[in-house]
């Protein structure tokens, strides 16, 4: 207890609070700009932190991480351009709410769901870091494959209402993920002799093309749609406030998304995008009004954002307890720890207990400050809905092209973004859902690498997937989800047929 009180006193020192706030503001801005990602911001800020006291330096990086993970949702909601790949799940319903004049609702829900997700993640990190790290380490290629397969079944769930089109989009997404060098052998496949394509399709180019460029193409086609609001937009207006009904729909989605996201964050190699999509799919699958998803369901925003941000503390679990960074950001943070003479792993808890306690308090203080800064920012961000399309879309397009260029540093990927923009425009026009394509693209490599590594380890024995208990559970869940989605589709089809007659 004394250690925790001393840690709290250290963290709430003015310098540390200022560093957290600065990190949060930088993170939110970077996260909201397409193409600029959180690892880039953390990497740029890393040298600055070397000159600071350990906890102050780490405070700034944690602020950037948490702020950046949330920031992607702001542009996703307001202009349908996900600032981060994970925010693409938020864009599906968030941008629809903005079109319907409820941008404030979507922004508020995105902030509050993010904060709840972060808080749950912080608490789990503090209370259950060691047992969760032990369990997460049981995830090898076999379990990753099974988790990937289970997540892919969400494609069927998200395709409800038009299974063939949804499945086509999902298969296309997985297929697109196989372009470029083979992840295991390094052999070129589907690269067509192109040096640029040997690295595969850029995910950021795909996401920005599918959302921003296709949106601009649709908008220029039906030119004339002006801004929804002309006068100053007030968050206190009824259209922008969250009602009890909204919370009734969103609360169960957040309650499910936060623990799932925490677990995904703890497993090395997965990350926020998978968490956001998995939770979005589960929220739709379990919703009493699945038809609202993609058309402005507040619970869609809630599930995606809670899932997205609930990884932010749990990604530190394998790093702090075992010295294993779970993703790029924690790998960079590991460097920051080591520069300050802190070696993550079991010995960190033994030799630097005061620092560990201060780090835990830091996570909670960052979440609290995130709520304050995010809430202040909402009033400013929402004014974007007043910008007329004639001004907004030229800016969005310039930002999208620039964002993809700075993220990939080549013009080939800018052209790729344009190509995916045309694909997204055509998919919207012909009624193909884009969510399955994105899910397939994210999960494709996890499934393929997991399958091939497992078969190499098991010498081709396919029963390895049912002999591992965790894998068997995920595969059974996948079969159940498929059967359930198929039954719902069949019942829906029968109902449509009856009403047509």
């Amino acid at each position: 207890m004394d250690v925790l009180l001393a840690a709290a006193a250290e963290v709430i020192a003015l310098q540390n609070v200022a560093m957290i706030a600065l990190g949060l503001v930088i993170g939110i801005v970077i996260g909201a700009i397409p193409g600029l990602n959180v690892p880039l911001a953390v990497a740029i800020a890393l040298p600055i932190t070397f000159k600071l006291a350990p906890i102050a330096g780490i405070a700034m990086l944690v602020g950037i991480y948490k702020g950046g993970t949330y920031g992607g949702s702001i542009s996703a909601v307001l202009i349908n351009v996900p600032g981060t790949p994970a925010a693409a799940a938020t864009a599906m319903d968030g941008s629809q709410l903005t079109r319907q004049g409820h941008a404030g609702k979507a922004l508020r829900m995105s902030l509050y769901a993010s904060i709840i997700g972060e808080l749950v993640s912080d608490i789990v990190l503090i209370m259950l870091a060691v047992p969760i790290a032990r369990f997460a380490l049981k995830f090898g290629p076999v379990e990753n494959f099974a988790l990937g397969v289970f997540s892919l079944t969400l494609i069927a769930v998200l395709s409800e209402g038009n299974m063939l089109k949804g499945l086509s989009a999902g298969v296309l997404g997985v297929f697109l993920s196989t372009f470029g060098l083979d992840p295991l052998t390094g052999d070129a496949r589907l690269a067509f002799g192109s040096q640029e394509l040997s690295a595969g399709w850029s995910f950021i180019a795909l996401v920005i093309g599918i959302f921003a460029v296709s949106e601009a193409l649709s908008m220029v086609e039906r030119r004339g749609a002006g801004p929804i609001e002309r006068s100053r937009v007030r968050l206190s207006d009824a259209a922008h406030r969250l009602s009890r009904e909204d919370w009734r729909h969103a609360a169960p989605a957040i309650a499910r998304a936060a623990p799932i996201g925490v677990f995904i964050g703890a497993v090395p190699g997965l990350g926020s995008a998978i968490s956001a999509y998995l939770n979005y799919g589960i929220a739709r699958a379990l919703s009493r009004r699945p038809e609202r998803f993609g058309k402005g369901a507040i619970e869609g925003v809630a599930a995606a954002e809670a899932g997205n941000n609930s990884v932010t503390a749990s990604t530190f679990i394998p790093m702090l307890t075992l010295g294993i960074p779970g993703d790029v950001i924690t790998a960079i943070m590991l460097g920051a720890f080591m520069v300050h003479g802190l070696v993550p792993g079991p010995q960190l808890f033994r030799d630097n207990a005061p620092f560990v306690a201060a780090f835990f308090v830091l996570m909670l203080v960052t979440t609290a400050l995130h709520l304050v800064i995010g809430r202040i920012g909402l009033g400013l961000f929402i004014q974007a809905v007043r910008v007329p399309n004639q001004v907004l879309y030229p800016v969005v397009l310039a930002l999208s092209f620039t964002g993809v260029y700075v993220a990939t540093n080549n013009l080939f990927d800018v052209g790729v973004m344009l190509g995916f923009g045309v694909l997204g425009y055509a998919m919207n026009k012909f009624g193909f859902p884009v969510a399955p394509l994105l899910i397939g693209f994210i999960l494709g490599p996890i499934v393929e690498v997991g399958l091939r590594q497992s078969l190499i380890i098991a010498r081709g024995d396919l029963t390895v997937f049912v002999r591992h208990p965790i894998s068997a559970v995920f595969l059974v869940l996948g079969v159940v989800a498929l059967v359930w989605a198929g039954a719902r589709e069949w019942r829906g089809g029968a109902a449509r047929g009856a009403s047509a007659r």
Binding site: D182, T185, M219, V391, Y393, A426
Partner: protein, 157 residues
């Protein structure tokens, strides 16, 4: 009839793409050491899936075009919409081509001006301000604050 064409078009495109990729992958030389799943196994299976899904959609579109979804409510087609889409695509393509030649500042200014006009902006002052402010702000932010170089002008050396 229109509904059938609306669904048959993309179905035929998926079928054709699947067949094309399948033919390419089946002709792909065997690579790597002996493995249980080769680098081309998954792409080949997925291309075959695209063929099957495309064929099923095509069949459904041709045989019972009215069953799978209620007909869309007639919507007023915006005048000149397709032309504007093509013009915007041409502007984007032109921008990508111009970037390495004219540099970021000039090509972005021209692109922003062209897109503002395409989106219906007819106020010269507003267009000129956009052409100046947007590229300048983005250039300063990325090059000065983020220290990320943007394309220079090859034509200007």
């Amino acid at each position: 009839m229109l509904r059938a064409l609306h669904d048959a078009g993309p179905a035929a495109a998926i079928l054709a793409a699947g067949l094309g990729f399948l033919a390419y992958l089946l002709a792909f030389p065997a690579q790597g050491v002996s493995q249980h799943v080769s680098p081309t196994t998954l792409p080949t299976v997925l291309a075959a899936c695209l063929v099957v899904l495309g064929a099923l959609m095509l069949l459904r579109a041709v045989r019972r075009p009215r069953d799978d979804a209620p007909p869309e409510a007639p919507r007023a087609r915006p005048h000149g919409g397709n032309a504007r889409v093509l013009l915007l695509l041409a502007s984007c393509g032109g921008y990508v081509a111009l970037l390495p030649l004219a540099g970021y500042l000039l090509s972005t200014a021209l692109f922003v001006g062209a897109t503002a006009w395409l989106f219906g902006n007819r106020r010269p002052l507003s267009i000129v301000l956009l052409m100046i402010i947007v590229p300048a702000v983005l250039l300063v932010f990325f090059e000065k604050f983020m220290i990320i170089p943007l394309p220079g002008a090859a034509l200007l050396g």
